[in-house]
């Protein structure tokens, strides 16, 4: 025993064991903080993501995602940002313009997950929301009336009271929210993509965010009691309809009333 303890290898073993415990412990702890919801991500996934990144994203965002003239740095934007931008087809961007548009998704779900894992591995950032907040059952249990109130206070000025979207300055616009996946709505609130502001968890708690999404899904599932919504855009579309079709009809009837019969 004595001999073994004095063995020079013993010191190395002790140091190794210490490193393992502290390093592993830190890894577990930091994992719990940064990606409390994401499932374990393997190194292969991150590597695959890096390959995809270098092939598809690095020309604008830089080969180490450090950003450049064409695109911002992605260090610290988190998996949520990648999942939103790539998962809705906004990235890779098609052209520069006032706003990067939604378009058909360019990557498979697996590839999106790999890219997200790579970007998340660079620096801690917001993670993809878990089923706890955006799953079917979570949304079914959401408080739609509270969600509606929060939506009207925080979102409706840009996205319209029923999420029909609306115009901003210089060609930018707040997109329509109908048909947008729950997790993408959640991610947008967390990351504040493009010109949308950030709604962090101390502003809108995860419960609040879930309620807002529940409200939007409720509006989507329930047709308007007033009949044709005309895009849900309110008085402009409705007024235009009345001016053209109703007044037009009245003019036609008036002309017919005054015309002589054959």
């Amino acid at each position: 025993m004595n001999n073994a303890r004095r063995n020079p290898l013993a010191a190395i073993l002790v140091i190794l064991a210490g490193l393992l415990v502290s390093g592993g412990g830190y890894a577990v702890a930091s994992n719990a903080v940064t990606s409390s919801t994401a499932s374990e991500v393997s190194q292969e996934t991150v590597d695959a993501g890096k390959k995809l990144f270098l092939a598809n994203c690095a020309s604008c965002h830089g080969s180490n995602a450090e950003g450049g003239n064409m695109g911002p740095s992605l260090i610290g934007v988190g998996a949520a940002s990648v999942d939103f931008q790539v998962g809705t087809g906004r990235m890779p961007a098609q052209a520069s313009g006032p706003q990067v548009m939604k378009k058909p998704v360019q990557f498979t779900e697996e590839q999106t997950a790999q890219l997200a894992a790579y970007v998340a591995s660079l620096s801690p950032g917001p993670s993809i929301p878990s089923e706890e907040w955006v799953g079917e059952s979570a949304l079914a249990s959401g408080d739609t009336s509270k969600g509606g109130e929060l939506f009207r206070i925080n979102c409706a000025m840009c996205h319209n009271a029923v999420g029909a979207g609306g115009a901003l300055t210089d060609g930018k616009f707040a997109p329509r929210l109908e048909g947008v996946e729950a997790k993408h709505i959640y991610e947008a609130m967390v990351i504040g993509p493009q010109n949308m502001p950030v709604f962090n968890d101390s502003n809108l708690t995860p419960e609040d965010k879930r309620d807002i999404i529940s409200y939007l899904k409720y509006v989507e599932a329930n047709p308007s009691a007033g009949g044709e919504e005309l895009g849900g855009l309110g008085p402009v579309a409705e007024g235009l309809f009345v001016w053209i079709f109703v007044l037009g009809g009245i003019v036609v009837i008036t002309i017919w009333l005054g015309a002589k019969s054959n």
Binding site: E149, L150, I153, N154, M157, C158, G166, L168, T169, D170, K172, A174, G192, Q194, N195, M196, P197, V198, F199, N200, S202, N203, N222, P223, S224, A225, G226, G227, W256, L257, K260, S261, N262
Partner: protein, 351 residues
């Protein structure tokens, strides 16, 4: 023109052959072009057309019956089910369409009847003068004099004067109710609920906000502490005190010397009430730092004291000076230093 209608028109002319009275007759007045040549209708020329028109009118009236009956049927066949918006829509839409066509078809049928089957003689009816004849006017004066004599309106001073008094007093209650348009707002338009030390809290639940909660790019919709608990005039107070809280990179803020300490580490608070007509300005663009008003597109530059950069607003949004209290919560340093919202009569330009 048929003989019958010609003679009718002549008779009318004779009947209304008045002098021009006091009217000025322009020498180059447009000449009356007379009647257009009469065009005989198909329904007058051919019996088949006439019969067809009669059938069309009857068909329209029958369609009206069917529509009205459909409205009755739809009311029962598409009942309003509690909790279903779609059922309300179907019920009201079909009931309404049935009732509308029920009425419309009667109208169209009646007009079609008149246009195709009823006599179509053109008749001109000359405009008669509005001035009565001398006899009528003299007779009217006579009647008034007689009424005055019989009622004694000129003779009975007491009755006449008391009537004048009554007429003078009866509008007063009507005028009094205008007092309810008040009271005069005094200086309430110039002050809001914000005062030194009032915490900034979240709309709608009134949860206080820590400076550390406001991450860069965040927007908080803010009400003063205590507003959510107000029992009276809550909306009036909210309409004045609503604030938008945003954090930007402190280096991009252009702050004047006197406003240097109004923000906290890039966190700025501005009134949400547009200085144009008072809409809530809350469309914040994170990258451009523009605040857009949805009503008339007034645009404010958040990094430059909310200066107006586009649109009809004439003044920047008032800034709420903020600080952080001992517990790390954001508080107001004071009320706004100018009245919030649109201009009003008593607001001086330099306020």
């Amino acid at each position: 023109m048929s003989d019958k209608s010609k003679s009718l028109a002549k008779a009318e002319d004779a009947e209304h052959d008045y002098s021009a009275g006091l009217a000025v007759i322009a020498p180059d007045a447009v000449k009356d072009p007379g009647m257009e040549p009469h065009r005989v209708r198909m329904t007058d020329k051919s019996e088949a057309h006439e019969k067809r028109a009669a059938r069309q009118v009857a068909a329209l009236f029958l369609f009206s019956i069917v529509s009205s009956a459909f409205a009755l049927y739809a009311y029962f066949a598409f009942p309003i089910v509690e909790g279903s918006n779609a059922s309300v829509r179907d019920n009201t839409l079909l009931l309404g369409l049935g009732a509308a066509f029920g009425m419309l078809a009667i109208g169209i049928g009646a007009v079609h009847w008149a246009k195709t089957l009823m006599p179509d003689a053109e008749v001109s009816e000359a405009r008669h003068q509005t001035r009565g004849s001398e006899e009528t006017r003299a007779r009217a004066i006579e009647i008034i004099d007689l009424a005055n004599k019989e009622s004694g309106f000129s003779r009975r001073k007491l009755i006449r004067r008391s009537l004048y008094g009554a007429l003078a007093f009866f509008p007063l209650p009507g005028i009094l109710v205008f007092a309810d348009l008040g009271p005069n707002p005094e200086d309430s338009l110039k002050h809001t609920m914000w005062k030194k030390g009032t915490r900034l809290t979240r709309d709608p639940d009134g949860k206080p906000i820590k400076a550390s909660d406001v991450t860069i790019g965040s927007v908080f919709h803010v009400i003063p502490e205590g507003l959510a608990e107000l029992e009276h005039h809550k909306l009036e107070e909210k309409a004045k005190a609503a604030v938008l809280l945003v954090r930007v990179d402190p280096t991009i803020l252009k702050e004047s010397a006197e406003r240097k300490d109004w923000s906290y580490d890039g966190i700025v608070a501005y009134s949400k009430i547009c200085t144009h007509v008072g809409c809530p300005v809350a469309l914040y663009e994170q990258q451009t730092h523009h605040l857009l008003c949805p009503c008339h597109q007034s645009t404010f530059d958040l990094t430059d004291a909310c200066k107006v950069i586009f649109g009809p607003a004439s003044r920047p949004l008032p800034q709420l000076p903020i600080a952080v209290d001992a517990e790390g919560y954001l508080v107001a340093q004071d009320d706004f230093n100018e009245p919030v919202g649109p201009s009003f009569w008593e607001r001086s330009v330099n306020e």
